[in-house]
Symmetry: C2
Subunit: 354 residues, 2 copies
């Protein structure tokens, strides 16, 4: 499925490596006196490698805590490029969304390749929103003689997935609009159907049923995007969306490149806002909801925790430094009566921002 | 299945109400200057009632925070007595452990009754352990004319479940021994097989696979205990265990009554221990693991979150006030080299305490 002379897997690997570096250096420039991100490279015994870039503020008890209050509280920008063998059950499950996997392969294990970038940024200031983004490429290949897991065989199926979404503790409408507009502007040149379709998917995905509210104010979410028919576009046969490998990769690069301009201006605008203990308390309660979503519902997290040999520390890097739970909290239930109520209303009734 | 002149459901309701009151007042006496537990009674539109007794320290931002440091940080002692109709899928699932449910009832909805007490105590001091206990009674009855959900029909199946377990941040062997010995002493008069069987079950149940460690240092766990054969005793046909409704209820009362003596002496011993910021940090990291277990694995929590109309605030009352996550924390990985390492070793290798 190489659209240029180079295999897609190589192109994706190169892209996510450079995107990771760009994102990490952008955050390091915002707060030059904070500790640098810790670069932690790893290899997977079953095949592959990764580079985790993590930010944490040393706990006061370590004696290493910085003198100033850091802009970020906890953050991770991780990439992984792995390959291996998918068990028959996983192959069968993937066939539901990828008809290019022939049914003759039922009951067979197949080589896979996966490369992705995944990031979560939890800033310290309660007025600065948490943000998450993830872009990934997946390939299933024919078994190749003597090179099991190296995935040098012919590509049977491939797809891209990903997205980006914003989780504010306090609602600033101009921030929500900027975030969504930047993503929409990155989508639109690649097909008018993309933004509305993936925005809606995002609202549906990042939903916490037991709280009857969304995790945040949305963004984009998509999966299984390839040249095959796609369930999310089925109702609209004229849907404008990319189809070829090159066009889909161009779309993914476009939204990947939009991450920094979608988020950094919001961070810079809010990171030194005055805040109260009450606002900090609300932020930590919201972080509790973030933990609930990620541990109870997030497919990536669940998949990661269930996968033997998965790197748990990377899977759970999305969790905040601190979260708080109160029984029947008195915060957030008063609708328009308070800033906490106002953001809660929006989480219960997702809006169109652009 | 009434063994005395009164139906078991009435006897259980009476018992858990009085146990709740005894437990709450025991904690209130330990720290008389702390705010009282908040009593929050509720009714379930579909049938039933409950009383939640909750302790929380008001956040500093409220201006209501007490002058002294409270012994408890967050605690809940809840009872619920509910009835309703079990959907066919649930009936079918329960038949796996309860052969007294006839297969003719497959595909039918049946009335149920459930009464239980559930509690979690998170003390403030890092040297004082968290504790959890839960005892419950479940009944399935024949549909009764004109009284759907009132459960006045003949009892088709019934069982007790429950247990109690301890989660210390720091290991004090004498505390672990006291806790287990008190439970064992409560079990032994009811059958020599009970403690070893349910202790083992507890170690298996409160396990966090992705961390490869136990949530705590164990206690008792059991379910589906009735006059029917029980899967946990199958290997031992002479297993000494209670069989009749009256004998099983007597065993449950015995371990329920053992809660306060199993735990309160530990709390009193540790609640004023000097502690450092580092120890507080470790306690909050351990609370993070507690959250991971409860949200990812605990059957009661998962069932509660998935049940439409469930009282989410009660389901999640087990979560701590605050939890912390660090990527690749430097605490706890050094084995015998530190107190944090020592408790981690025990969590990875459950011990026999008595």
């Amino acid at each position: 499925m190489a659209s240029s002379s180079r295999p897609m897997r190589e192109q994706v690997e190169e892209y996510i490596c450079s995107l990771q570096e760009n994102i990490v250096s952008a955050f390091e420039k915002v707060d030059p006196d904070a500790p640098a991100f810790k670069r932690d490279s790893w290899t997977r015994p079953q095949g592959g490698r990764g580079l985790s870039c993590l930010f944490a503020v040393p706990h006061p008890s370590t004696g290493l805590a910085p003198q100033h209050e850091c802009v970020l509280e906890k953050a991770g920008v991780n990439i992984s490029i792995v390959h291996g063998t998918l068990p028959p059950a996983a192959v069968k499950q993937m066939r539901a969304d990828h008809s290019s996997i022939p049914s003759e392969l039922d009951g067979k294990s197949l080589p896979f390749f996966a490369a992705g970038i995944s990031l979560v940024i939890h800033p310290r200031n309660p007025h600065a929103p948490t943000v998450h983004a993830n872009y990934r490429y997946f390939e299933i290949t024919e078994p190749s003689e003597g090179q099991e897991g190296q995935g040098q065989g012919k590509v049977i199926a491939w797809w891209f997935g990903g997205g980006s979404d914003l989780t504010p503790s306090y609602l600033y409408e101009e921030d929500a609009v900027h975030f969504h507009k930047t993503l929409k502007d990155a989508c639109d040149p690649h097909g008018a159907a993309i933004y509305p379709t993936f925005k809606k998917w995002c609202d549906e995905y990042f939903y916490i049923p037991h709280r009857q509210e969304s995790r945040g104010i949305g963004g984009l979410f998509f999966d299984d995007l390839s040249e095959e028919p796609h369930k999310r576009f089925l109702g609209d046969t004229n849907a404008q969306r990319p189809h070829t490998p090159a066009d889909i990769f161009a779309f993914v690069r476009s939204v990947g490149d939009a991450f920094v301009p979608s988020y950094l201006p919001l961070l810079e605008r809010r990171m030194h806002a005055p805040s109260t203990e009450r606002e900090r308390r609300w932020q930590l309660l919201r972080r509790g909801r973030y933990v609930e979503f990620n541990l109870v519902y997030d497919r990536g997290t669940k998949f990661g925790l269930m996968t033997p040999g998965a790197r748990v520390e990377s899977v759970l890097m999305s969790l905040p430094e601190t979260a708080r739970w109160e029984y029947m909290s008195d915060m957030g239930g008063d609708g328009e009566g308070s800033p906490e109520g106002r953001v809660t209303l929006v989480l219960k009734n997702p809006r169109e921002w652009v």
